[in-house]
């Protein structure tokens, strides 16, 4: 048995737990509970009571083709951003782990994007990618069919995906680097003596040994991509053009606070919550089997 420090008085222990519980309750259970309640009632836009409508809100949401489109979009967004940010993060981490020149400087530089808040990053990229002025305007002016995110939905989506991945690559990088550096040096050296080239070593030795980190990053970046994408979409595209970048979380905001359909938005957020739970469950159930915990 582990030895535990115990409080002689129950109330003293409770007192210490209270602040944290208060935070969790205020910012998690209360909003979730409220959303759940709203999802089953019809809220009047200007306040003044509500009425119980059962599953009507959900029926309405699922009948909406725009909603299904936003789910598809969110899944595509989750898949591509996770692949892009993890792929580039891993590549940079492998390079830094090799101990190339100026490694320390790059190490710091690569983490910075994650420290930039999403809307700020989005604003910067909006100027870079804008078709009217900025770096990409040169292409946009001569070849509008190649680059025009204000008109072309695919271009807009690509832009949002790029910006989000850029930001999250920094997070993936730092986790991957830490995992790679935890591999004993002698194991890498042994594989070098066994004749494996740098790429072969990465494939056969390093990547299999960091699967716990890969799994962890897949789970959190898919989950985060459903939530954290809001700031970037809001600043860069407002969900446009023609709703081409309207992800689930943005649609919740848009329907709720612009469309004043609180009840529909609440139902959507409950659906979002269940999708995230299902995805996480799926990952633990099926992907974790391939993880080597040493």
């Amino acid at each position: 048995m582990e030895k535990r420090a115990t409080f002689s008085k129950l109330w003293l222990g409770m007192l210490f737990v209270l602040p944290q519980m208060l935070l969790v309750f205020t910012f998690f259970y209360w909003p979730t509970g409220a959303a759940l309640y709203w999802a089953f009632t019809l809220e009047r836009p200007w306040g003044g009571g509500n009425e119980w409508v059962g599953l009507d809100n959900f029926r309405q949401v699922f009948a909406d083709r725009a909603y299904w489109a936003s789910i598809t979009r969110s899944l595509i967004f989750a898949g591509t951003t996770t692949a892009l940010s993890m792929g580039s993060g891993l590549l940079l981490a492998l390079a830094c782990d090799r101990g190339l020149k100026f490694r320390k400087a790059f190490q710091t530089l690569y983490v910075w994007p994650y420290a930039v808040v999403a809307p700020a990053a989005a604003l910067a990229f909006r100027f870079i990618f804008a078709p009217e002025a900025g770096l990409f305007s040169l292409i946009a002016k001569s070849h509008p069919e190649v680059w025009n995110p204000t008109q072309n939905g695919y271009h807009a989506m690509a832009m949002v995906i790029f910006c989000y991945s850029w930001k999250y690559a920094g997070l993936c990088f730092i986790f991957f680097l830490a995992a790679l550096q935890a591999i004993p040096r002698s194991v890498i050296e042994a594989s070098a003596l066994d004749g494996a080239s740098v790429l072969r070593r990465a494939r056969d030795i390093q990547i299999p040994l960091i699967t716990p980190t890969i799994f962890f990053l897949i789970v959190i970046s898919i989950t985060d991509s459903f939530q954290d994408s809001f700031g970037i979409v809001d600043v860069m595209t407002d969900g446009g053009p023609a709703k081409a970048t309207e992800l689930m979380v943005y649609k919740i905001y848009f329907d709720g606070f612009r469309g004043l359909d609180y009840s529909g938005a609440a139902a959507q957020s409950i659906v979002l919550m269940f999708i995230m739970m299902a995805l996480t469950f799926f990952q633990f159930r099926f992907i974790e089997k391939r993880v080597h915990y040493s």
């Binding site: 002698s186 194991v187 050296e189 042994a190 594989s191 066994d194 056969d204 299999p208 040493s294």
Partner: protein, 357 residues
């Protein structure tokens, strides 16, 4: 079988000079042990041969070919690491066969060779296990198997036995010796354990502070240490070193405290420096009963069963004598020491080197 040659090999890590010009020739099929205290540069030397560490100056030749610029995999060396460095996510069979897989051998060919190596090392029943399911000794064997299967030109061992318990160490030592007798692969073995060095080596290289102190057979290292360092480092319970001067008129050694040890004229070097350190092994001195000329005073005795280690003083300088079990030597009493002329060693305190005949 390959030869290995090191020519004026140096290594600097920034300001610290770790290996200071090492010359060494390992004959084909020879088993050479590099022995030294921790931090003497022996592991660095081995890693430079393997190609895991760049050489600051000098050159390394394997089979008379300079390998300074070659990648580890192109040198034909296999290495057994101190912590085994097995691939934790691969089975024993995959660990042993990884080099062959990288080399592009077919699965059938690989399996055949893996089976053969596993049989040699007694690992057949463990082939499907992961390294984490093996004991220390088994892991050690897998590491050896992984090195063996490539049929390397040179075998490199980096303190491979130091993570094992004492008993296992002895049996693995025997296995390494037997394996070498069978395969005859040129081997370089690094250790700080003198027993390992004495039992395994055809020749021992004693290193200290990045330099070679002596290269010789175990017998010669033990019986003719080339320097004070080698004398002190090799052998247990120890080498007695007594400082004094040479008195040429009576042809005797006079300790700093005035104790006199007369020398055999026929068996001492003809030219001895005026200041001198004489040395002899603890088991080479014979205690000859009480006498009026006190030269050895017993301090205390450590009884090890088969032998007794008698701690005492010669002429105020601490020495240790090993005697057979049942001699009674009360502490505080004085005795005389008798040392055969052949067992006396003379060193120059200035250079620390042996005074040769």
């Amino acid at each position: 079988m390959a030869s290995l040659e090191l020519k004026k090999v140096e290594k600097k890590f920034g300001q610290s000079h770790v290996v200071k010009g090492v010359d060494l020739v390992v004959e084909p099929g020879e088993f050479v042990v590099i022995l030294g205290p921790s931090g003497c540069g022996k592991s660095t030397l081995l890693r430079m041969v393997a190609g895991l560490e760049a050489i600051t100056a000098g050159s390394i030749l394997i089979n008379n070919r300079i390998v300074n610029e070659l990648e580890p995999r192109e040198r034909g060396c296999a290495m057994v690491f101190q912590n085994y460095a097995l691939y934790p996510h691969m089975s024993v069979a995959e660990n042993i066969g990884y080099a062959l897989k990288v080399a592009g051998l077919s699965k059938a060919d690989r399996d055949l060779k893996i089976r053969k190596v596993a049989q040699t090392l007694g690992l057949t029943e463990f082939l499907e296990r992961k390294p984490s399911q093996l004991s220390g000794g088994q892991r050690q064997r897998v590491a050896m198997g992984r090195a063996m299967i490539r049929e390397p030109a040179v075998f490199l061992y980096d303190e491979p036995l130091s993570n094992l318990d004492a008993k296992l160490r002895v049996s693995m030592r025997g296995e390494i010796r037997r394996l070498h007798q069978r395969l005859g692969t040129t081997s370089l073995f690094v250790t700080h354990d003198q027993i390992e060095a004495m039992t395994l080596a055809d020749r021992i290289v004693v290193m200290n502070e990045g330099k070679i102190e002596q290269i010789a057979t175990p017998h010669e290292i033990y019986n003719k240490p080339a320097s004070l360092f080698v004398a002190d480092f090799v052998g247990s319970p120890g080498f007695n070193l007594i400082e004094g001067v040479y008195d040429s008129s009576q042809h005797a050694f006079v300790g700093l405290g005035g104790g006199v040890l007369s020398l055999d004229r026929a068996k001492t070097p003809t030219t001895l420096p005026p200041r001198l350190i004489i040395g002899f092994r603890a088991e080479c001195a014979v205690v000859t009963g009480e006498g009026s000329d006190p030269s050895f005073r017993v301090d205390y005795i450590e009884d090890l069963g088969a032998t007794k280690h008698v701690q005492g003083f010669f002429d105020d300088q601490k020495i240790i004598i090993a005697v057979k079990g049942d001699e009674a030597l009360p502490s505080g009493s004085d005795f005389r020491l008798k040392i055969k002329a052949d067992d006396l060693h003379f060193f120059d305190p200035m250079s620390g080197r042996r005074v040769v005949q």
